[in-house]
């Protein structure tokens, strides 16, 4: 191909590229999807109300304004066991600054007795909720244990961590960012 032909082709490609960039620009109207609820980053964390292991009930809705870590776990899950001490440490370190940890036991796939023994063994002080019928696991499209959702003060999921174990440093970095972020 001649020198001029290749240059004309290159220029045409670049011009088409520029036109495509402008043609495919996103409308700048408000994003309706951001108002939706779903177990995905950028969407509101789906609401739920569950029984507490210690008795009573707790709803996600009543925690709006706090940074919430929702951790789905089971007593037989090795990575859950490995990361739980780090979550407990972080909870104790940040609870006074507005961190709430909701440890949702996937009771439908676990044994309540084993789960209670687990909580005692690790001296867990944060609320432990019981997903006895698996509804919350389904609602959050649980694909592996553990799965952790980091929810901002605005109720929007900021990050999802599938699998584990989470390290204390990662938890600290995520939570610091959420606590220091805009409400």
């Amino acid at each position: 191909m001649q020198k001029n032909q290749t240059r004309i082709l290159s220029a045409a490609l670049l011009l088409f590229g520029l036109l495509w960039i402008f043609a495919s620009a996103r409308p700048t109207t408000s994003n309706a999807a951001a108002l939706a609820s779903g177990p995905e980053v950028g969407l509101f964390a789906p609401e739920f109300t569950l029984e507490l292991m210690s008795g009573g009930q707790m709803s996600l809705a009543e925690l709006r304004g706090n940074v919430v870590v929702i951790n789905l776990w089971a007593s037989w899950c090795g990575p859950c066991r490995a990361e739980m001490p780090a979550i407990e440490n972080i909870y104790n370190e940040y609870r006074e600054r507005g961190l709430v940890v909701l440890a949702v036991n996937v009771t439908a796939q676990d044994s309540l007795i084993e789960a209670q023994a687990f909580a005692t063994q690790y001296g867990l002080t944060f609320p432990i909720l019981l997903d006895t019928d698996g509804a919350v696991s389904y609602q959050y499209r649980l694909s592996a244990l553990p799965t952790t959702y980091f929810v901002g003060r605005d109720g929007i999921i900021k990050k999802i961590n599938i699998g584990g174990p989470l390290s204390e440093t990662q938890l600290r970095l995520e939570i610091e960012a959420l606590l220091n972020g805009a409400p």
Binding site: K3, G17, W20, I21, R26, A33, A36, I162, G163, R172
Partner: protein, 253 residues
Amino acid sequence: MFPVLQIGPLVLQAPGLFLLLGVWVGLNLAGKRAQASGLQSSALDNLIMFMLSGFLIGGRLVFIAANFPTFGNSPLDIFSLNYELFDLSGGLASALALGGLYGQRNGFSLWPTLDALTPFLATLTLSIGLAHLASGAAYGEVTSVSWAIKLRGAMRHPSQIYETLGAVFILFSIGLRKPYKVSGVLFLLFVSASAGMSLFLQAFRGDVTTTTSGIRVTQLAAWAVLAAALALLDRRLHAPTLQSETPTPSQDQ
């Protein structure tokens, strides 16, 4: 989407597996093609391994440096296998620096080496597409087209499939070709095609950062890369002094 493969208590990250597979296949392909670029396949393997090591170690070190006080509370996390504790740009910079240093010390010529690396890079690009497909990341824009998939609570463009198909096309049309007579042309064609493909396909992505006027930042970056690659390609193809360049380093015995 299948982000993890759970085998009993063992949770394997499917995207990570695809990336590892991509590295392994890419290394093999690059090794086989190295000879055509005048390089020893073992020398190229070493270069890639140096760059991968630089990427992994450099990315972690830069992350630690940027978050040093936090690591002070849990210093053993420096050795954590958690891939979230990683700085991507730091890793890339380290890989390039280490690769450049290794190449310089071992007398690699730049353009033949980049040609030889092209099959590796093309395979890695494909594995990134597959990793996105597995994880559900790099998801598409909301759409009503008949082939839309349900993801993240809405019907969306299957952007990960577009990305994977684009990478397959580039791999077979450019990545697996033998190098051209003028060194560097194969690599620059690969970069141009990848940037062009990205520029086109980013329009269907839903997870994009935009300017205030709605322009997708990644498209602007892809356009800039495309412009640079085309300019370099023009220089390689039409500069008479470069036509006779032949690779000098590490010829096979």
